[in-house]
Assembly symmetry: C2
Homo-oligomer: 440 residues x 2
């Protein structure tokens, strides 16, 4: 560590977030120094190409391609490159040289968080990562510190702005999935390759981080069950609306006791029906929100912009100032608590409710037959709604009906088995949609 009245910050990466971090560190230098009690000095920015065009205008002399040397002289290393390598090596090098680390790298933390936190704990360094989940919304610190004495029961979170934008357009403007995706792409809510967002990979990484924090456990991204939104149709959205629900892509982390009585964590990402009067239902556009249910605190919600360079830079700067204050105070980092070390249960152990939409034969005895199939799998029916179907082309002579079944809470494994059995039944023409209901 250098003189305690001046801290040297090395920035790795100068993309949309990094550019704003650099700009704010320079523009607000004196104000930040006054708040932190120590001068926070940006000493360099490591990039692949010093001549690349950048959205934010920054002094040319700060740029370097030599990340290793920059890291060696720093008190605080801010990693905003993203991806696994070279980000991981740089962070480990920073920790090894005695620096604290700020990162917004959700992919890296979800995959190698345990290794990085362990390396930091060995030398008393801190790794802060408020920017990794829900951009500027303070959620890491509230979970790690504010709720440190409470017992988190469940987190339901909208952590992917792109998919929330798409689903919100379908719900509010009646767009088809295809149209909503096209608009999202045009407006920059979606990347040219939408897979990471649309198929839930991004949300799954954040779910892993939230689950780990909330339950003091190491949850690898591979332990997160993942379903994206690409199968959601406008018909699903409209049918949900008629029943008083809105469809959201949720990242869920909750305590689950499995059939063997073993307490564990369920971490999953999937589209879900959320009641219209739930606070998450009013999260529109590209916004994010993290809804937390804790034993003592009760329900809490944290809401704000879920993306954006300058918004995410706010979270990074908060971490930088917090680390600067810690340097001033002395002492070492205490690292992440994984004291509970709970097992991560598969999706089958989760307890949820299903809303199943079926196309069935419209003849006597069908309802009893299907109810029997559900009952034999231990699934209890809560609501049942039958309506005449519009026959498909060439099947006008075939009498079918649409049957929508809402179930009571059951193990996801039992529900899935029941849907398989329904699907195999002669009375069922097709399974139109199966959606989980959450937050009720």
């Amino acid at each position: 560590m250098s003189d305690t009245r001046s801290l040297r910050v090395a920035l790795l990466g100068a993309g949309t977030v990094g550019g704003h971090v650099a700009r704010l560190l320079l523009e607000h230098h004196d104000e930040l120094a006054a708040r932190a009690g120590v001068s926070i000095d940006l000493v360099g920015i490591a990039v692949r190409d010093v001549n690349a065009k950048r959205a934010v205008d920054l002094p040319a002399e700060l740029f370097t391609t030599d990340a290793e040397t920059l890291i060696q002289g720093a008190d605080i290393v801010v990693e905003l490159i993203g991806g696994i390598e070279p980000a991981k090596s740089y962070i480990l090098a920073a920790i090894g040289s005695g620096a604290d680390v700020v990162t917004g790298n959700k992919a890296l933390l979800a995959e190698h968080g345990a290794e990085i936190f362990a390396a930091a704990a060995r030398v008393g360094a801190e790794v802060y990562y408020e920017a990794a989940v829900a951009a500027a919304i303070p959620i890491i610190r509230p979970l790690r510190d504010s709720l440190a004495g409470d017992h988190v029961e469940r987190i339901l979170a909208i952590v992917n702005g792109s998919t929330n934008y798409i689903l919100d357009r379908m719900d509010r403007f009646g767009d088809s999935m295809e149209d909503a995706q096209r608009v999202a792409l045009e407006l920059g809510y979606l990347e040219a390759d939408p897979t990471l967002d649309v198929e839930g990979y991004d949300a799954a990484q954040k779910a892993a981080i939230l689950a780990g924090l909330a339950f003091h456990t190491s949850v690898p991204a591979a332990g997160v069950h993942r379903e994206g939104i690409s199968s959601i149709t406008l018909e699903d959205v409209e049918s949900a609306r008629e029943a008083g629900y809105v469809i959201k892509l949720l990242a869920i982390a909750e305590r689950v006791v499995d059939d063997a009585g073993l307490e564990g964590v369920s971490a999953r990402v999937h589209p879900a029906l959320v009641r219209r009067d739930h606070p998450l239902a009013s999260v529109h556009g590209g916004n994010n929100a993290v809804f937390v249910e804790a034993e003592a605190a009760g329900p809490l919600m944290f809401y704000g912009a879920g993306a954006g360079g300058v918004q995410t830079a706010s979270a990074v700067l908060g971490d930088v100032v917090s680390i600067a204050r810690r340097h001033l105070a002395g002492g070492v980092g205490v690292g992440e608590s994984v004291a509970a070390d709970l097992p991560v249960h598969p999706i089958g152990a989760a307890e949820t409710r299903y809303r199943i939409s079926l196309e069935v034969d419209d003849r006597p005895g069908v309802l009893a037959e299907l109810a029997g199939i559900l009952a034999s799998r231990g699934v209890s029916v809560e609501t049942l709604q039958q309506s005449a179907s519009t026959p498909a082309d060439g099947e006008a002579d075939r009498a079918t009906a649409t049957l929508v079944i809402g179930t009571h809470t059951a193990r996801d494994a039992a529900l899935a088995a029941a849907v398989d059995a329904l699907s195999a039944s002669d009375a069922v023409e097709s399974v139109r949609s199966v959606l989980r209901i959450e937050g009720a």
Copy 2:
């Protein structure tokens, strides 16, 4: 400090919050120790009467009336007595003996926070107070740490659950103010003496704390402009609804540049019209929410229960565990940042919009006359709505109309002067209501 593997916690007060803090410290002892990395041991509870009946059953041997001795042997003192004395003396004694302090005492912090924080800073002790504002909702730590690198522009907060419950009943169930207060009293949302809540004193203390934190400035409670909700009528609520607003009692803290060009802080509590599509509009019942607008982060909202013994205990425990981790890490407290040291401007310097409802003579020339009065005070009219009035008893021969004026943004001083001038005009029979519009 005792052995770093065990921290002695002294609890002062065993009311609704204190009882739950004690219970949770005992029930979750091993879990908290695992998370914090150090045993957190409740060594005693100081109360006035050891034989008093308590809501939570606790071991009799923990109780003592000798707070001074208990404090002397503690590493962490949790003050939940409330009020100014003896709470203040106890906290200063705790700091003097080298202990860290956790408190939920908003009245004390709003009035003597600067003195207490200075005493703590001198010896490197920490004073944590997450429970002082909005119960379990993490807001102190997000403002102090997460947004430490950002520039907060404005806070609009619902921080008094009792008045939110009352106003929400009026809005949703059409209760009169009197009826809503009666129900709030019956259901325990309101104290037998409702003055602290209804007249905005409680919210003003919280506004002082939020303003101080957000703007790195010492804001005394006396610097907070305060208006309660007792003058709000069902007619106001209904008229607001028709215009697309809901009335909320807001605690507001914002940056203001006064007429002399001096940057300062405006801290105020008053009922305000909030647009129905603003996130604060959907905060119902006794819930609290803090809406923060920051330069980089954009709008954020923190939502949850605003009161309750066990909910508030969650915030206290989060502070206790955070302090325990700090003890383990070593280092000293860094205290509150008051680096900006901005002046606190009077309400007149604030910039707001008014919605003014007048009973006026229904004759030619009145509108022009009233518009002239506003213009001469520099107040510009945005909306104007006139409707026939129902004449009061005995005045059926008098032709009057109801005129509702919505203004553009102006200094509060100019708006207040304009209302005075309208009130003095011969054309104005009565000023029916004047409400500020916020968050638009």
